[in-house]
């Protein structure tokens, strides 16, 4: 397989706005200075050029001022899976339209179901409570169904190759555990809030 014969080229672009007949833009070279910005750029189809057996995607070019940023990404098209695509945005070629999304926390787990508290953002009150089948969760995540575990539950349409199907997906979050400092800060904040509101602990009232 040839991995040479790469050609770096600029591409022409036909400007679509205004009047399409006349709005012809002469070659535009997409110079992307990778370490100067956090914006992501539209990868034009013409940024990719193929040679039999080898695809080189033009990621960045800044030849004169920043020679260290020259980069060609090489992808062996024969290894690419059917339906594979560029640029890399995950392997599964599908997109989703979200209809409903909840955040949740597991309260307790039974044999075949678990009970959880659900809310849509921090402003959502009162929070909902739901009993969910363990089978709704992917096999590899079922070990994560433990009291206190946060998850997201998304319902929507999944579009794959022009076909739209309904989906419901529960994803158990992989967030770092609370640190001791964060727990202490939360307790202090809660105590201050408690004092401001003026609530008293019913157990203390009963004892008195």
């Amino acid at each position: 397989m040839a991995t040479n014969n790469l050609v770096v080229q600029s591409h022409s672009s036909t400007a679509p706005y205004g009047d399409t007949d006349s709005a012809l833009a002469t070659p535009i070279c997409h110079h992307v200075l990778l370490n100067e910005t956090t914006a992501d750029f539209q990868m034009s189809l013409s940024d990719k050029f193929e040679d039999p057996g080898t695809t080189a995607t033009y990621v960045a070019e800044m030849v004169e001022a920043f020679p260290q940023f020259n980069l060609l990404r090489l992808t062996n098209t024969l290894r690419r899976k059917p339906g594979g695509r560029e640029p890399s945005a995950g392997l599964i070629e599908e997109r989703s339209i979200i209809l409903q999304q909840w955040d949740g926390v597991v309260l307790f787990r039974g044999k075949t179901t678990f009970t959880a508290r659900l809310y849509e953002g921090y402003q959502d009150f009162p929070v909902k409570r739901a009993e969910i089948e363990v089978e709704e969760v992917a096999d590899e995540q079922r070990d994560m169904i433990l009291a206190g575990a946060p998850f997201s539950w998304i319902i929507g349409y999944r579009v794959r190759a022009g076909t739209r199907s309904r989906f419901s997906e529960i994803y158990f979050r992989r967030l770092p555990a609370w640190t001791k400092k964060e727990i202490e800060e939360a307790e202090i904040t809660a105590s201050k809030l408690d004092e401001e509101v003026g609530w008293t602990d019913p157990r203390e009232s009963a004892a008195g």
Binding site: A39, R95, R174
Partner: protein, 224 residues
């Protein structure tokens, strides 16, 4: 009030600028750190991992790391919580990584349902009468970028770009970039974690919000 057409394509990405070591970003590293499951790592397609560049395609998102830049992106918005958790996890595990800037990005391609609407958007965002029409024949808009400074706990800029879509014609591509520049690279990773946690939910819908306003003010306003 009309509803924004479903995007033909949508992408969410996170970019970190700093000092990174691409060679460590192997799928196995993510499993060892508890950031991904073994199944996700097994299904990953590694394009390249070297001291200069790491490029891995996981089932639900892509990861690219250069010595000065890390980006994670997904074209399936239902996977957004995963890249949120991954970025938080990376920055927590590599808490001494100097990060000078972080960007939360959304891009979407939307059909304009007719060439006339397409031109209306281009003409409204960049009127041709005052300057361009006097100088050139039938000028057209290729790209418009707007930047707004952001203050508060996470100072930086909001950058919006609108341009013709390369995927659908006639259609527009709207991109948003919520950028946070750290004051000091040393010890900056925890601050970037806070930025991601605080700004995530609005940042990943920023371009949608802009597109809704463009469509409502330029297209729907005129038809009602």
């Amino acid at each position: 009030m009309s509803q924004l057409p479903d995007p033909a394509s949508e992408e969410i990405s996170v970019v970190l600028v700093g000092s990174l070591n691409p060679a460590i970003f192997h799928p196995e590293w993510f499993v060892r750190q508890g950031l991904l499951s073994l199944g996700e790592a097994d299904r990953a397609e590694t394009v390249v991992i070297s001291p200069q560049v790491a490029d891995v395609r996981f089932p639900d998102f892509g990861l690219q790391v250069l010595p000065g830049r890390l980006s994670v992106r997904t074209s399936d918005v239902s996977k957004a919580p995963r890249i949120h958790d991954l970025i938080i996890g990376i920055l927590t595990k590599l808490s001494h990584t100097p990060v000078s800037a972080a960007g939360l990005n959304q891009s979407l391609h939307i059909a304009t349902e007719g060439e006339e609407n397409w031109h209306k958007i281009g003409d409204a965002l960049a009127p041709k009468g005052l300057i361009w029409g006097k100088l050139y024949e039938r000028p057209g808009l290729l790209n418009i970028s707007i930047q707004s400074p952001r203050k508060g706990s996470f100072p930086g800029t909001t950058n919006i770009t609108v341009q013709p879509s390369a995927l659908i014609t006639p259609g527009v591509m709207v991109t948003s970039n919520i950028e946070f520049r750290t004051a000091d690279q040393v010890g900056s990773a925890p601050k970037v974690v806070e930025f991601v946690q605080n700004e995530w939910s609005t940042a990943i819908k920023e371009a949608t919000q802009v597109a809704e306003l463009i469509f409502s003010e330029i297209l729907w306003q005129q038809t009602t």
